[in-house]
Amino acid sequence: MIYSKTVMDHFRNPRNVGVIENAAGVGEVGNPICGDMMTIYLDIQDDRIADIKFQTFGCGSAIAVSSMLTELAKGKTLEEAKKITNKDVAEALEGLPKNKLHCSNLGADALQMAIKDYEDRKAGKVRPELKRKESHDELHRVGDKCYCPYCDSEVSDGEKMCSACLSDLTEEH
């Protein structure tokens, strides 16, 4: 497997799968273009995540990220939960393949959106139609390196074309 044992464990036996009816907060990210959609449902009691569930359409990495994220978040106060980053999730999973990093970028984002949704509603804001967040634009740069968003090869900074798949990179650079 290209995945770590922990990833495979969460993928095969995902924790906290499902829907919370009338959830206090809901967050949705991703889109099926990248093959990846994630919905997080929160039950909040006393500013604490009493329950959390997810639904995911996505690859092994995306499912494992969702599962691990819910485990990390469950029981935490909202303040604590806000500090959970995508990096935390990836680390808890003992690493993700480089070309799957964008899947792991979704997990924490969905959680933060769900928390924001809860806070917005509490503040009496009209709940806007849930708009999925795309994550692809963030994928170009990982650490101090650039990767072609089309074929994932390393490209030099400033390059106007990916030399491998010949895609246009003028937007990125």
Binding site: M1, F11, R12, P14, V17, G18, E28, N31, P32, I33, C34, G35, D36, M37, M38, T39, F54, Q55, T56, F57, G58, C59, G60, S61, A62, I63, P97, N99, K100, H102, C103, H136, L139, P149, Y150, C151, D152, M161, C165, L166
Partner: protein, 386 residues
Amino acid sequence: MSNIHLDHISVSPLLPEVQEAMIEVIRDFKGNPSSQNVAGELAAEKLEKARQSVADLINCDPREVVFVSGGTESINMAVKGVARANVEKGKHIVTSNIEHNAVNRSVKRLMHLGWKATSVAVNEKGRVAPDEVAKAIREDTILVSIMHSNNEIGTLQPIDEIAKITKEKKVLLHTDAVDSVGVIPFDVQQVGADLVSFASNPYYGPTGVGALYIRKGSRIWPIIDGGVQEHNRRAGTENLIGIVGMGVAAELAKRDMDRRVAHLKKLKALLVKELPNYIDEYYVNGDIDTSLPNLVSVSVKYVEGESLMLMLEDAGYTVSTRSACATGSLRASHVLMSIGLDHADAQGTLVITPGIDNTEEDILGFLKALRDITKALRDISPLYKN
């Protein structure tokens, strides 16, 4: 746990006869086919024997066969070599929108260097209309490159009809036949293409070896320059071990062709017939009537392909997927998009490619596993409302 291999499009095991022939070369490796000595001549004989077997498989003159390092190099050589050799005539190429990346990226590379290309769209079964090809050919067209069979959906193209057009318009015709040659009957005289790219693994020979058929008189430049090997058309000391393996595989493919095709057709028919008894809400992609006998492409709605594939692997069945996640690319397959699938459905596409050693039990076992796993994944999918 036992593993049932239903992913022959990714890799096929080597036939015992192929193994033995390769091992014999390995054990007694001592001649360079270009050397003028006894060992060299024996090596050259092995090389030419393999060339004859490969030529017999597609029914051509052995001098029209150039050995290369695989399907990809063969395609690069055909596309770039023809483009380079014919600049005086023009710089326009016609291709289709479901080609393998070896063709796509070769054409893209040329476009970056000033060539122009027209990509002909396929219908929802993945077929190219010869008329469309005819319309796309211009004064300055020097090459038409349309694949013979598609590696994701199996659809076969009417290359013979396209050949009539290119012949009349005096344009060279190349076909990527990597998944056809050795798998289904392929007679280059009937097919009519001027250049045919093919490999060895699809018919149980080694990977990393292939050939380009070049019809006598076709203008083409080498893309790998150096020594005098392959009649100055492809330089470099030969991969004799691989080439001998390819030769034996070709010989057996020709000998057993009818039996193999009949067996694979039976397995495919069973799979397609039984599918609705195991899952609902799916499509079978491509052209069922005119397609490879060893390939079934199924899009399972509401689930993603990589997770489907991984769970099937866990259950003992190896298949492949065309979901973006599995290939490390961020895009769904251009082939599935071209036949009109939406992104979510394309993401849930499995490519099931049985081989000559698979049985009906394998197919039925696979279907059971597919049923259970589809249910499990749909249960966690936000797209599935039941």
